[in-house]
Symmetry: D2
Subunit: 429 residues, 4 copies
């Protein structure tokens, strides 16, 4: 249980923090405000990527702060081609503090080419993609020259149970034919989105977890139609966005199936382990930022003759936030360490645990920060309303809290049913 | 402790529900969606009142569902002039179920001319206004021909402590001169807004609660400038909105001070008692709607072979929601009944208690409803994200939870300090 | 929804409070301490009723404060025979504040002959008993000359599902033969206990809720054996107590079955409705006492230069306690009012709701009171540890929280399944 | 941040678990039951140490499982003299899993000579004691031949603020004279208790934290009187117990002051750091045991046709328990690691954080376990009621939750006030 980051991770984390502080932070608020203004007044198209962002990407890449999420053991040629300064090939544990650092800024993940869903899609291609699939999509993804989307959730069924997915991906000769409808297809709004990773039902007669396939669908394939973009609590998360997408007789070559038909569940699991560590650590970064803002506000404003921080239960809430953040960060580091040492299967419960814990802690801390800010906390003068929405959405994205708690409980109870003779005191070991 | 509504209240409540169901509900969602669309695409100005709304107002008024908030004892000529069918002059207890009914719809309060801040401002004029003030502003407010704004909170100070307010309202001869800045000035965005009720510091040397005055400032007075409109979690609450407003050498006649200089606190208290019952009951209506949506979704979607409602802790949460809603509704009815029977001063703790309890219950129930809806619960396909934002904002509007809890605690502890010989068993009475 | 107590109820409540303050309170703490001491040192038998208690009973009865729980419509001859001053025949709503008052004292229910399980058993006999059963057991119960026990829960099965009960009550000719084991048989330890109300399985082949019978078993019937007395968090609740009781070939006449074979569920439901109102209101009384002690302690002790009440979140907790107590009391009054007006079947969800809400509120308030008392709150110097244990036990007695939440959820969801066409806006009515 | 225990710690932890499972567990329940029985029936004196316990101590010591708490750097001659097999001199991090293991058993800490308050008192002597003090008391404490008591809390003042302590410890010539009253003096009931560590006020005119001294008072000094033993929720924690102790003109030599007059605060802080890690880890052990019992019960009993574990929100609660336990354990390991690496001063907030977090998690998990056990969970058939009481008491012992939250908040807010120019983005580092 050694959570000490490597010297390289320490150095990269510091570089990321410095970059966020010196390069991103000074323009982030203004950028958001300008976009918000544009949206209200019908000005600049929020779905275009502001030139500043591309410029930030260039500068980050020049400093080697690029594709840092790329996992150890897979960096191979990519580190050399796309990362300078060796900033890839990190373990989950090493990447965790970097992910936390990027959680302080809504723009940072994109600037460092570590943003969802592209990082997750890149991992899928890295682990399961054929050489042709990698050449066509992984290289430009890691280069930042294209973007991708991930299409799993469907509007017509309870998608928390992934076996419910009904979009069909039928093999016909050397083609796969997709028909159906997805929503919350993240990334589809980006002007550079060129490919969708789509989960579809291939063989309804197969065992439950071998029915679905993961298919790579070029964005411009006939029959792919973005019906509309969806908002999360009023936020459209431009320029990536979440779309409702219909698929009508969409045909792609059989070779576009990742790892072969029927392996979608296996791929989704593999995809989500490290991704959940990233998300969870970003939530910790967000929570830290909220607590920071709460303390600053609490010390700088007074009511009834005392600083807000000293009124009522505010100090207790600050302590509770610190305790919740610190213990949850440790829980995530532990899950990352287990992913590194025993793999995704052995860290199943741990990964579900952090999927539940992190956004809930963030939501609670942000709620407190909003409250201590008064009306300002609800407005877009502070990043709190955006932060709250982000944390709230993560409680549903990639499976709701309830589903992940069930995984944790299942693993816990399995300790007992496995050995019927499992007595209390044997368990004490 | 008789919470039975009068036959007239029962009849009006039923009429309001029917109107919402038959007239408002069928167009509300489409209207919201159209406005959202317009906002994104730079279409119709969301700050204009859609013609449908004016039409709904005419029809509501024709049915006597107009100005129902007007309190008993003050309806005098207004009931006759502006309300047909006697739909005014209700007690707080009688109005409560009507307010709950209007909580099911974001449009309803406006349609029935019972919306904040106009209803509160009308009450101020009714209770404290001079005949001239009433003629000029109360009549058109009750007629619906003008709108008003309420300006109390300031950006530069912790406004939870109202004695902090720094905008000056200095008496100079027969004029009052206002200088300073307000924000969260609700109603200022409405195209028909004609007057602001502004709280200003008149005499810094007076006792703490006699320093401020409440001043009526015509919207077009020179020096009144809307600096910008503010959003709440991304929502601008058009066409009313919340503005940041600067006052620069704003001069109005001395006669525009309500009830005379130094009486702002007294007026604010009187204004807020019934208003808090209205808000709290609307929160109950909102919570009921969220629970309703949660049950419908929970029964109509399945995962892992069972309806969502039967999975994990969902039934427990449904029960907890029902218990929380019902007990909080009763708490509000009790506060309303006390306002009616012992007045605002005697119901001080009760009114603060519901100010805390109602939005928190609503927020909790809505959060559950969002969760059981999955991604849909975050989108604007359902009214839940708007409902959540409304409930969250109410936890800060008119004083944050913490301030109101402190009022409740103060009243509680005062039972002890009043009689130093107050022993445990005497208190048992 | 008129919760106004009748003048008679007001008068009786005041008389009960006065009696508790003047007669019971002065000796209660000393009595508890003496008994505790005796228990530790092997002194006086705690299962004997202290003479003081009998004396208090006589004085209470002389004032007409006797059998007040006896419900309206059934007082008939009993009021005249056993109650002077007409202190019986109260509605549930009228009895509620009396029950609250008795919650301030652990002894009060017994002193007023309103204690569980005797009051519930008396109600069973009153509603379902034959004239012979009433003569033999109801009269002396109401007279206070005998006590009774209630035997439902079993050690070998999850008794939260009452259909699990396995003790057999087989009809053989004109006898009923009981075999099996019960525990948490409340009242069995009392020296005057003369009869047990026992739930047994009579016809395993009958429909689920018609299999069990309620049998009256004289305490001295051969085969009835108290295996041991059980403690609740270390408290034995002497002199009533809770026993584990074995039944071995226990034979009683067929006429000892209440209302005939197979009606145990119907009787249990009828028994528990009013009883749950009593329990819930006593929990409110207990919570009020805890809050009272917390305020007193919070004002009389100081740390870090301020009264404890003003430190950290204590004032917030006082407010939260006040809000929770008041809203829950109203919820109980509403359930009582519904029991009075629509009966037990119509108030099913309401009664389960208060069964959940009341002890949880009490437990939370008591926990706070303990905390503000420091170590003293854990000791027997204050009634808080006993209060906490009582509240904790009520969360399990008569069905755990979880079972009652499920009842509330079932009733809530049934509103939807009944009308498949039930749309959101129709529900708005 | 390396939490990996040393091989020696792993080995010792395993040995401790094995010893508890094989030696202590088989007799613990029977011992408790026998003592409980004795208490009720006036049998064997619960304040005598059962011979079985002494025998267990001998066997534990023979295996080298003795004084394991003795910290690294101080074992010196003690390890050789009193510990065989090198079972001392562990870091806080190494001792933590051992402390968790002992949390599964109420007897284990005593059996391994690692019980409070003796372990804490031994640490005081080790760090601050003079050679004479060590010879007289530390040696026999580590040998297990005497026991000690710790006297800090007072009945007359809010002891959460330690500067409130009023018992005087006045220097008169070469004597210290103690006058006043303590309570919750833990360990005073043990028949072998020979010395009290007493905190007294020496110089009221000194700076706040230099007024008090820590004095070693032999148990048989004239003027030391145990007024009574106190219970915690009905439990007396025999044979150690908590006493109310009066000190009347108690005179001891000046050399009995530990480290010199006025240093009590410094000593108390040093004493409590490691002790809080021990307590917190024992709470984790207790919580694990409660979760274990909950899972076993949940799988072995059924209601409504399903195992209890699968009903309602039980699986969610199992998951929440697992998440809370794991994250809190990590928080404690982190605090232990900081104590080892940066010392008590640098780990101030961390130690207060675990003091709050651990017993609250334990209490919550135990409450759930009690609930799933039904009535059995409240009885002494299971260790849950004792466990709950232990966890509840720890929320007050050594300072209530509220005081420790305040420490955490103080440290958090100090990050801001230190650098007035501390901006948000600098803090992001």
């Amino acid at each position: 249980m050694d959570f000490t980051p490597s010297p390289r991770a320490v150095e990269l984390t510091e570089a990321v923090r410095t970059f966020i502080r010196d390069e991103i932070a000074p323009i982030e608020h203004a950028l958001h405000r300008r976009q918000g203004e544009a949206r209200r007044t019908g000005g600049a198209d929020p779905w275009q990527v502001p030139e500043e962002l591309y410029e930030l990407q260039r500068r980050a890449r020049a400093q080697g702060l690029w594709n840092l999420f790329l996992p150890a053991g897979h960096e191979g040629p990519y580190a050399q081609r796309f990362g300078t300064r060796g900033g890839t090939g990190l373990t989950n544990l090493d990447y965790a503090p970097i992910a936390e650092a990027t959680g302080w800024s809504f723009l940072a993940p994109y600037v460092f080419n570590c943003n969802a869903p592209d990082s997750g899609n890149a991992e899928v291609l890295l682990r399961y993609g054929s050489p042709e699939q990698r050449d066509r999509w992984l290289d430009p993804l890691l280069d930042g020259s294209i973007r991708s989307a991930f299409a799993m959730t469907e509007p017509g069924v309870a998608s928390s149970d992934a076996t419910n997915m009904q979009l069909t991906a039928v093999v016909q000769g050397d083609e796969v034919v997709l028909d159906g409808r997805k929503w919350w297809t993240t990334g589809i709004g980006h002007p550079n989105c060129e490919v969708l990773v789509v989960m579809g039902l291939t063989d309804p007669g197969a065992p439950k977890h071998a029915r679905h396939s993961m298919v790579l669908v070029p964005r411009d394939t006939p029959g792919v139609k973005v019906e509309r973009m969806l908002d999360t609590m009023g936020f459209f998360d431009e320029p990536f966005g979440h779309g409702e997408v219909s698929f009508t007789d969409v045909r792609v070559p059989l070779s576009h199936i990742v790892a072969g038909p029927g392996r979608a569940f296996e791929i989704a699991q593999g995809r989500l382990g490290p991704g959940r560590v990233h998300h969870a650590m970003r939530m910790i970064g967000l929570a830290e930022r909220a607590l920071h803002l709460a303390c600053e506000r609490g010390l700088s404003r007074s009511a009834f003759g005392r600083p807000l921080a000293d009124l009522g239960g505010n100090r207790e809430r600050i302590a509770e936030a610190r305790i919740a953040i610190d213990s949850t960060r440790l829980l995530i580091l532990d899950a990352a360490w287990k992913l590194d040492t025993v793999g995704a299967r052995g860290a199943l419960a741990e990964v579900s645990a952090i999927k539940v814990a992190a956004p809930n802690v963030a939501q609670q801390v942000i709620d407190f920060a909003m409250q201590i800010h008064g009306g300002a906390g609800l407005s877009s003068d502070f990043p709190l309303s955006g932060a709250w929405t982000a944390a709230r959405a993560v409680r549903l994205a990639d499976g709701p809290d309830e589903v992940h708690k069930d995984v944790v409980a299942r693993v816990e109870l399995a300790k007992y049913s496995r050995h019927s003779s499992h007595s209390e005191h044997r368990a004490a070991r």
